[in-house]
């Protein structure tokens, strides 16, 4: 029997409120209200609670924990993801995998842990004036979070899907390496994306959220922060609402949260949406702009042997060759990784329908898949997207793909096919509505050269939403300062992926952890009862 720390904690008296089960309006007071329980909110909650501050964490999604995680896509996606893992950009051209339960995306991510790349930090210093983004400034915060979340090299051999990426890169002379993971006693099952059933993944759900709750924090789940109410240069309350039990509709009861300080950690779509709904000062119209996605294109290969991409740690090998060998502000670079393969995710990403689609699915156990994550936001041709509000106040992301990114997508398809053939693929197919299987590298090359790249031809996915509330010293270019504090409001911070002025060029979780930890420690010093206590 696997222990479930959340259920045990609740039984022991942790303060956890399901807002979908409210039968009346609710009012809560705390030192700090945090909207969101993902990478930013979780880290912030624990550090503030350890400093002796009273904290309320508000999470839109439900509380689900290891006892609920049954490794079945059709149960996991509706419970744990925004739009059942089918959130899309406004034109439907990019599908966004984003978490929506306690722990946010950390509950469902694939555990890849990278420090913010030095090239990215240098770009932020030089082009955005970030003074605190030096490697030595951040090193202690990376170390602290690596220790807290057991981030370490993964000593187990990669699964075959990842090892094919490694071998293909090796054949072609592209450096590839193992990815560090935030796991403790991992069973190597391969179902990280459906919630870790053994609590090995050191997500916020099993680390900082329990840490905060054990220090007396309150977790209010299935509650959505609708708006912040300002008076002068201060936020005086946050208005939230329970989500109906179905999960989709807003519930009838109102929640009023009053605090000394408010932290938005609702993710790079959710946090800008709260700011926009609240109509807070934004004199330079920056909120929700420059939103980045690491737009990701996908290449599938049929191997002559079994790959079983559904087994084993899903993402354990990467290559940064096509990031490191190009200038950061030149033609777009891309990171190469491998994804897990499960029937629904593979089925909806493979193009087409009918017998052609069925034929690819028949090869499911022999399929090998490589993904290329484009490093968006470093070049004028890649200004990112924009969070807008629908008529009902919910956010949508408009992300037009320009020629700059389309050119990179084509190069990425070529790279992935070359690697897959080098590793011994029988056939390779770019996941693109007009893509067909090629039996050789030469054939793939000419087919890819002819592919149309307009929206809704290539299958584009994203698992990393970043930007929209950029940090920086200049209020004309940034929403918050480098402490995460809003440039125009005294008691409002942003601690999540929306802080980043460009994409990161690596899976973002560890970047969010480190920046949030530093910001939260600063906040704790300022707000905490006992002076000098940094959490």
């Amino acid at each position: 029997m696997i222990a479930d720390p959340l259920r045990d904690g609740i039984a022991a008296g942790w303060k956890v409120i399901d807002a979908a089960a409210l039968d009346r309006d609710l009012a809560l007071e705390a030192d700090v209200v945090i909207a969101g329980s993902g990478a930013g909110g979780g880290v912030t909650a624990e550090i503030l609670a350890q400093a002796g501050l009273s904290v309320v964490i508000v999470e839109e999604g439900p509380l689900r924990s290891s006892s609920d995680f049954r490794m079945r896509e059709r149960e996991a996606y509706p419970q744990l993801y925004q739009e059942s893992a089918g959130r899309q950009t406004a034109d439907k051209a990019i599908t966004i995998l984003q978490g929506r339960s306690v722990g946010g995306s950390t509950t469902v991510n694939w555990t890849s842990s990278f420090r913010t790349p030095p090239t990215t930090l240098a770009h932020w210093r030089h082009d955005f004036g970030l003074a605190l983004a030096g490697e030595p400034d951040l090193a202690p915060w990376f170390e602290r979070m690596e220790e807290r979340l057991s981030i370490a090299p993964w000593p187990v051999a990669p699964n075959e899907n990842n090892d094919i990426l490694r071998r293909g890169c090796e054949k072609l002379g592209f450096p590839a390496a193992a990815i560090r993971r935030n796991v403790k006693g991992c069973w190597n099952l391969g179902y990280c994306g459906m919630g870790c059933p053994t609590n090995a993944k050191q997500s916020m759900l099993v680390t900082t959220i329990p840490g905060a709750l054990a220090k007396g924090a309150t977790l209010l789940h299935r509650a959505r922060v609708e708006r912040l109410v300002a008076s002068g240069d201060r936020i005086v309350s946050a208005q939230a609402r329970g989500v109906a039990a179905s999960g989709a509709q807003p519930g009838p009861y109102r929640i009023r949260l009053a605090a000394r300080h408010y932290v938005l950690s609702a993710g790079a779509i959710g946090s800008p949406a709260v700011l926009l709904r609240s109509e807070l000062p934004d004199p330079h119209e920056l909120v929700g702009k420059r939103t980045f996605l690491h737009p990701t294109v996908v290449s599938a290969a049929v191997m002559p042997w079994e790959v079983k991409g559904f087994e084993g740690a899903p993402q354990s090998i990467y290559s940064d060759h096509f990031l490191d060998s190009v200038p950061v502000d030149g033609p777009v670079g891309y990171k190469l990784e491998a994804p897990p393969l499960h029937p629904i995710l593979a089925g909806i990403t493979l193009p087409g329908y009918g017998t052609r689609h069925a034929a690819w699915m028949k090869e499911f156990a022999n399929l090998q898949v490589v993904i290329a994550l484009l490093r968006d936001g470093f070049h004028p041709g890649s200004p990112g997207g924009r969070v807008i509000l629908r008529a009902d106040g919910t956010p949508a992301l408009d992300y037009p793909l320009g020629d700059f990114l389309r050119e990179g997508m084509r190069r990425a398809y070529l790279t992935m096919a070359e690697i897959q053939f080098a590793a011994g693929a029988k056939t390779v197919m770019p996941l693109h509505e007009d893509g067909g299987p090629a039996a050789s590298w030469a054939e793939a090359k000419s087919a890819i050269a002819a592919l149309p790249m307009a929206a809704l031809h290539p299958r584009i996915v994203s698992a990393h939403v970043m930007g929209g509330c950029a940090m920086g010293p200049d209020a004309r270019r940034a929403v918050v300062d480098e402490r995460g504090r809003h440039h125009h409001l005294a008691n409002l911070s942003v601690h999540d992926g929306s802080l980043f002025p460009t994409s990161i060029g690596a899976n973002p979780q560890l970047s969010i952890y480190a920046f949030a930890a530093r910001m939260a420690a600063g906040l704790a010093r300022e707000l905490a009862p006992a002076p000098g206590r940094a959490g």
Binding site: E83, A93, Y191, P197, A248, G352, A396
Partner: protein, 176 residues
Amino acid sequence: MLTRRQFLKVGVASGVVLAGAGWLATRRGRAPAPGFQWLDERSARIVTALVPAVLEGALPAAQPARGDAVREAVAAFDRAVSGLSPPVQEEIAQLFALLGLAAGRFIVAGVRSEWAEATGEEVTAFLARWRSSRFGLLRAGYQALTQLIIASWYGNPASWERIGYPGPPTLEPPPS
């Protein structure tokens, strides 16, 4: 609702039908058909007509397994849409309102027969037409319908044997 830009993009005849369908979807309100949480009778007929074409080659060939698989895929489609946010549900309702109008089915989808009578060839031709349409809105409609149906089938353990997926492991501690 359609923006003016989208309207111009899809062409005047289709645009008139699309706008009318959106208006109908909002005005009529929708009532789920018996046994469904979200699909009304008309949209359930459309999904039932689409499933065999989208999943041709993947569904069991012989009855009664085939009929069961189609029914289960339609039911899973219904569950999937009912879990989406209200604005996304509304977009899908507009898509079905369009396909459910005779004019929409005929002019925009190119399907002459009523959905319940449409042949596999007609449905496949509709999918092919929208898939390669020059209008992004129709390509998006094609992807939404096919992806929802594909997800509805491959979430069903009955689909796994054919593709060599053993299903999730049992939680036995690994041998030490």
